[in-house]
């Protein structure tokens, strides 16, 4: 399946990582994140190895770190939390970079920073190399219930349609002099949201009719086959290495 849906987190390409079956990538990413979060926070070297593994995947997938960095900013609130911890936590203190901070807080901050960053980067790597449509196909092949897959497919498509509808309704409101600046002026906006909900519900019924008319019986068609053993071995290789690191760290 090729990407046609321009998504800010997806970076289309033709690397071995891009070509890998989506279900393999989903399993690899989730299990790699599990390895990271299971690693004791004092094993600093293990987090370094995980990062090197991620860098290797980026090199194969040809994703420049400069492309990932701005997208990783979503983690910023957690970074702030991690930076605050050493100063607010109690217990024994320790000198770090010339500042006296809580030892327990420092380790907690490091824990959040290291695991959060690696988790975000692993997720971004999955999103960068797998289009939203492929992710859904991957979930389907991993036997995620049909209803969930269908809802995810429709949500992906109709968020934009409903967003457009909301924009048109807003335009129509402000064209008639509506200018909500304060909380007590949001009545019309709230009613607009209500109308949007009813319209989306009606659209849902029409979409369902159109799907049933084309023979839909509850399962989304999947045109690809299952991934071969080689794909699973190649795709899970970094995760297996991460698991080995975890085994040593434990």
């Amino acid at each position: 399946m090729s990407a046609g849906h321009a998504h800010p987190l997806h970076r289309p390409g033709d690397s071995p990582v891009h070509r890998l079956a989506p279900q393999v990538k989903i399993v690899a990413a989730v299990s790699a994140v599990l390895c990271v979060v299971s690693t004791p926070r004092e094993r600093f070297w293990a987090f370094g190895v995980y990062f090197v593994l991620l860098c290797a995947v980026w090199a194969i997938a040809r994703i420049p770190p400069g492309w990932l960095a701005p997208r990783a900013l979503i983690e910023a609130p957690f970074v702030v939390l991690a930076l605050v911890f050493p100063f607010v936590a109690g217990g024994p203190t320790v000198a770090f970079l010339g500042i006296t901070v809580s030892e327990h807080g420092l380790l907690s901050g490091w824990n959040i920073l290291a695991k959060g960053t690696l988790g975000v980067l692993a997720s971004l790597t999955l999103a960068a190399t797998t289009s939203p449509g492929e992710l859904i196909v991957g979930l389907q092949r991993l036997r995620v219930p049909n209803m969930v897959v269908t809802i995810a497919t429709l949500m992906m498509r109709y968020l934009e349609v409903i967003g457009d509808e909301a924009r048109r309704m807003r335009l129509a409101r402000i064209s008639r002099g509506h200018d909500p600046r304060f909380l007590w002026q949001v009545g019309a906006t709230a009613r607009g949201v209500g109308t949007l909900f009813v319209r989306s519900y009606e659209r849902g019924e029409r979409v369902h009719l159109a799907m049933v008319s084309r023979g839909w019986t509850g399962a989304m068609p999947d045109h690809g086959g299952p991934a071969g053993r080689a794909a699973w071995l190649a795709g899970l290789a970094p995760t297996v290495l991460a698991a080995v690191v975890l085994g040593i760290a434990l």
Binding site: H5, T153, R157, L209, S213, R214, G215
Partner: protein, 244 residues
């Protein structure tokens, strides 16, 4: 034995669950290869009739598609034979790419692999959209979306093509391009429309429905030339349009 009609609707009546009676006994026969316009004012029961043709709604009376009764055991085959193109392409196009959307119907009907790819390609070729297979339907113009919606149904290889207001919201050029595509298809066609000149251009025969019954059935030109008939059923030709 003679060939059965492409579509047979016999005394079809239907009331919505809220009690509103939409159809009071519609009878209509369409021969294979015919192109028939279904005209009528808003609320006449046109869309309700369309939803009976593939068994989404079931009322009293008889509906047959090429001799096959529209009934529960036949629904899958009926839905393959009757392809409905809905009025709003955004209701019809729901997959991430044009290709996925066009493949959705035939895949539901059991096609896989090369056969499916060939069907998708042919349907997109038929509507002149082969170059947009990998794009998102969201990023297409209104006319392109309408043609892709048509392709999603053509890909199922239906015996009857049912179009609900195909020219709605189209700019003149897109409207003409769609007419050219439709005229190039060699299929039985039922076209629900308010666009009377479009009906005249595409359909040699027209059926006028009002109040849940068929009130006129004949050559489109004759129906549209009958000003009294049109006026009695809230239909009007556009300003400056005359049929002499």
């Amino acid at each position: 034995m003679s060939e059965p009609p492409a579509l047979l609707v016999d005394r079809l009546a239907y009331a919505y669950p809220d009690g509103h009676q939409a159809l009071y006994g519609v009878s209509l026969t369409v021969r294979p290869g015919e192109r028939v316009a279904v005209l009528g004012p808003n609320g006449a029961g046109k869309t309700t009739l369309v939803l009976h043709l593939n068994g989404v709604l079931t009322g009293q009376g008889r509906v047959e598609v090429a001799g096959l009764p529209v009934a529960k055991p036949n629904l899958k085959e009926v839905r393959r034979r009757v392809g409905i193109v809905f009025q709003d392409p955004d209701d019809q196009l729901f997959m991430p790419t044009v290709r996925d959307d066009v493949a959705f119907g035939p895949a539901n009907f059991g096609l896989r692999g090369d056969e499916l790819d060939a069907r998708v390609k042919r349907a997109l070729d038929d509507v002149g959209m082969a170059g947009h297979a990998d794009r998102s339907p969201m990023h297409l113009s209104g006319g392109q979306r309408r043609r892709v919606a048509l392709a999603t149904v053509l890909a199922c290889d239906p015996d009857i093509l049912v179009l609900d207001e195909p020219s709605a919201n189209l700019e003149p050029r897109a409207r003409r391009e769609l007419a050219e595509v439709l005229l190039g298809l060699d299929r039985t066609m039922l076209m629900v429309t308010h666009d009377l000149p479009y009906a005249l251009q595409l359909c040699p025969r027209a059926v006028l429905i009002d109040g849940g019954v068929v009130v006129a059935d004949g050559p489109t030109r004759d129906l549209l030339a009958d000003a009294d008939l049109l006026a009695a059923h809230r239909l009007e030709l556009p300003f400056g349009f005359r049929l002499d």
